[in-house]
């Protein structure tokens, strides 16, 4: 404990774009290292999604009438894909609030790093995991008889829409993570995910729901993504007369942008207010 240490010289200084990039890569790397260290969390998350698929496919599948007499499993999967994006919110929230609570965020803030990287690093890591999740879900779908019947371009477009929704929801998760503390908060976010996921057209036709509930389900951003991706994958869907259903492809882009426009500034402002 006696050796003297010279002050090492930092290579680059300032908060320029290059530094935001470097620091974001470092923090994304941190999350990847978490996955390697602690794969159980990821496996649990993937397993949850897979169990949901199997439950719906084998347990409830028989009882559900599929529009146009199509394949139930083809009908099911686009809803499941979008749903996993919803269930990713709590992951983001937990990661952010844990860092704030433990003081890790304060340590970052006391360092001469690019502040934006703290949020960007989180967003990139969660997007990477979203891609992994989506690919695994598609493989599970293929295994149980789901098919993407559209062109390669349409399939990629559908994947893009699903990931766009996730990207928007990441900022909801970051915002909630900065606002809420502790186990209670996490439970709160997780209970929010269920109505958001199920009060949609993922499993049940909104037209069979009571009027107002059906309207909420149709206007749920998740429903637009589900409808649009069903079209792109060439899978059967519900249809409907309302404007939001007729313009689902447009809304599948508009909704995430609206969510982003609201929650990204909120998250950034909330982050800045850590110093109030």
């Amino acid at each position: 404990m006696t050796a003297t240490l010279d002050r090492p010289a930092p290579a680059a200084t300032g908060g320029g774009l290059g530094n935001v990039l470097t620091d974001s890569v470092t923090l994304t790397g941190r999350s990847l290292a978490h996955w390697v260290r602690n794969p159980a969390t990821l496996i649990a998350s993937l397993a949850f999604n897979i169990v949901m698929v199997l439950m719906f496919a084998f347990l409830f599948g028989g009882a559900m009438a599929v529009p146009d007499g199509g394949s139930y499993r083809e009908f099911l999967m686009p809803g499941m894909f979008a749903m996993t994006m919803i269930f990713g919110i709590s992951m983001t929230t937990i990661a952010i609030s844990t860092d704030v609570e433990r003081g890790v965020t304060d340590r970052f803030r006391s360092m001469p790093m690019a502040p934006a990287a703290i949020l960007i690093g989180r967003a990139v890591a969660d997007m990477l995991f979203a891609v992994v999740t989506l690919v695994v879900m598609m493989l599970v779908g293929l295994a149980i008889g789901w098919r993407a019947n559209g062109s390669v371009g349409a399939t990629l477009g559908a994947m893009g829409l699903i990931l766009l929704l996730r990207f928007a929801l990441i900022w909801v998760g970051i915002f909630l993570g900065l606002v809420m503390r502790g186990q209670e908060a996490v439970a709160g976010v997780q209970t929010l995910e269920f109505p958001l996921g199920f009060l949609s057209n993922a499993f049940v036709a909104p037209s069979t729901m009571p009027g107002w509930l059906g309207a909420i389900a149709e206007w749920n951003p998740l429903s637009s993504t589900v409808t649009a991706t069903r079209v792109l994958f060439g899978n059967p869907g519900w249809g409907g007369d309302s404007w939001v259903v007729a313009n689902a492809s447009l809304m599948a882009v508009v909704w995430p942008l609206v969510i982003l426009a609201v929650f990204l500034p909120l998250a950034v402002r909330r982050y800045a207010s850590l110093s109030d």
């Binding site: 404990m1 010279d6 620091d23 978490h34 003081g103 304060d106 006391s110 360092m111 001469p112």
Partner: protein
């Protein structure tokens, strides 16, 4: 003293949270290369002061300079020159110790290679080389704190802030942290350390500022403060209630202080203004008088006693919490190896 000799300057800092005033004209100046102890009870404003100085917190009034730069207008410059070790160990629990230090090193922009090298050096230095690969959640409290310190030392900061660095540690962990801090000070790092324990300030600090309800109410070297508050105390318990009066007379003769008696618990407590009066002398004198001490210990005055003395009242705020934290920490003595301090000076008859 010119301002260039001061590593930390705070002038009239004010901070309120809603109606709650956290800092109310807080002044501090810490000369370069020294250790300043900021001593105060729960809610006194210690953490708020440290957070402001470490550029984490906006404030409502006053000004502050750290390492020669203004914390409000030159935060980036300040951040290159400080290390912060907050109230809880701010390290990634999932990653290993080495991974943590490499990550922070990269964020300090050392570059990957230099960051790894620095991580190795620091782990070595803080006695963590062997556990560097293990996840931090498997570390003991003392190890975590040392890793936390190491992370705060990556750029060898000119000013290091330590906010209650030994809370929740056992004597061994406390000793490890104190040793690490001393090693940093030997290299010329200026340290601002907050604590609720006079003995900790005594162990580490050149000067101590006592803070209460957001302002500094006393300042001086630990010895000056102790003298101000009547020095160390000897606590003594006797087996028989009849012996108490005799013990009190004996102790009074030897130390010159008037003991406070507690008939109920057969205890007495006396200030030893001259701390050279050793425990052994007291025991011998008692022995000669035919009194058997059941339990006897030399201790620093508690923060409560310092406050009582300085302000004529007990610390405001969460007294109960402060007292609870204070338990079992009463036997620290300067220069004694801390690992043994819990029991070393207690003589059970």
């Amino acid at each position: 003293m010119g301002s260039s000799d001061l590593a930390v300057v705070a002038e009239g800092l004010r901070k309120r949270y809603g109606d709650k005033v956290a800092l109310d004209g807080f002044d501090l100046s810490v000369p370069r290369g020294t250790v300043c102890g900021l001593l105060g009870p729960n809610g006194a404003g210690k953490t708020t002061a440290v957070r402001i100085l470490a550029t984490l917190q906006c404030f409502d009034g006053g000004r502050a300079e750290v390492a020669g730069y203004d914390v409000a207008t030159e935060a980036a410059q300040v951040r290159y020159r400080i290390g912060l070790v907050g109230q809880n160990a701010a390290v990634d629990e999932v990653l290993g110790g080495h991974q943590n230090l490499v990550m922070f090193g990269k964020l300090y922009r050392l570059g990957a290679k230099a960051a790894r090298q620095r991580a190795d050096e620091l782990l070595d230095r803080f006695g963590l080389a062997e556990v560097g690969g293990k996840p931090v959640k498997s570390y003991s409290g003392g190890m975590r704190r040392r890793l936390d310190l190491a992370a705060g030392m990556i750029l060898a900061p000119s000013v290091l802030f330590l906010d209650e660095p030994t809370v929740g540690l056992d004597p061994r962990g406390r000793n490890e942290v104190w040793e690490a801090v001393r090693a940093l000070v030997r290299q010329g790092t200026t340290v601002l350390l907050t604590t609720q324990y006079l003995d900790e300030a005594d162990q580490l600090a050149d000067r101590v500022s006592v803070i209460d309800t957001g302002r500094v109410i006393a300042e001086g070297t630990p010895d000056q403060l102790k003298t101000k508050t009547g020095g160390d105390r000897i606590d003594l318990a006797v087996h028989d209630r009849e012996w108490l009066a005799l013990a009190a007379r004996t102790v009074e003769q030897l130390t010159g202080g008037t003991p406070e008696l507690d008939e109920e618990d057969r205890k007495l407590s006396v200030r030893v203004a001259n701390s050279d009066t050793s425990l052994i002398e007291v025991i011998r004198a008692l022995d000669a008088a035919g009194v058997t001490a059941e339990d006897i210990a030399l201790r620093r005055p508690t923060l409560d006693e310092v406050f009582l003395h300085l302000t004529g009242r007990r610390p405001v705020g969460e007294e109960a919490k402060a007292e609870k934290k204070d338990k079992g920490r009463k036997n620290g003595k300067k220069d004694a190896p801390v690992a043994e301090s819990a029991g070393a000076q207690e003589v059970n008859a």
